[in-house]
Symmetry: C2
Subunit: 85 residues, 2 copies
């Protein structure tokens, strides 16, 4: 399964878009033929830390999904940003 099939499949289960400010980060690791250790879980916290430099993030508003399918690992972070005055 390719990365783009994954995105297409995800669309089906996504609720109607809400007019909030939000960030979505997707890291897809396509491994080719090899069986390798997966570093996406470790990467997750570091990516959140980097983004926190630019925009305030409420850690309770970070939703993480990690999916392994065949030769593709996908880390998905959905972050709803705090309301600003």
């Amino acid at each position: 399964m390719s990365i783009f099939d994954y995105f297409r499949d995800r669309k089906k289960s996504t609720p109607a878009s809400i007019a909030k400010e939000r960030l979505q980060i997707i890291v897809a690791h396509e491994r080719g033929q090899r069986n390798q250790p997966d570093y996406l879980p470790q990467l997750q916290q570091e990516i959140i830390d980097v983004i926190s430099k630019y925009v305030p993030i409420d850690r309770e508003q970070v939703h993480v999904a990690l999916d392994n399918q065949d030769d593709c690992s996908i880390l998905e972070l959905n972050i709803t940003l705090p309301e600003r005055p």
Copy 2:
């Protein structure tokens, strides 16, 4: 336009998947109703630095696309990883 429409549209222009090891990072910033400065270009280098801690990256194999559509900014990094012995 929602984030997921973007992914669907991208699929059409993607060449057939090649069995190489690769990483794809997509950061989508949906701004809601507000007109705000965009920090995705600055974020780009920091994300590459973070990933470099986990896997060797050849900077010449990093392809960056930045897209602004209506209320959504999308940073896309496509990285082909070096062959390993």
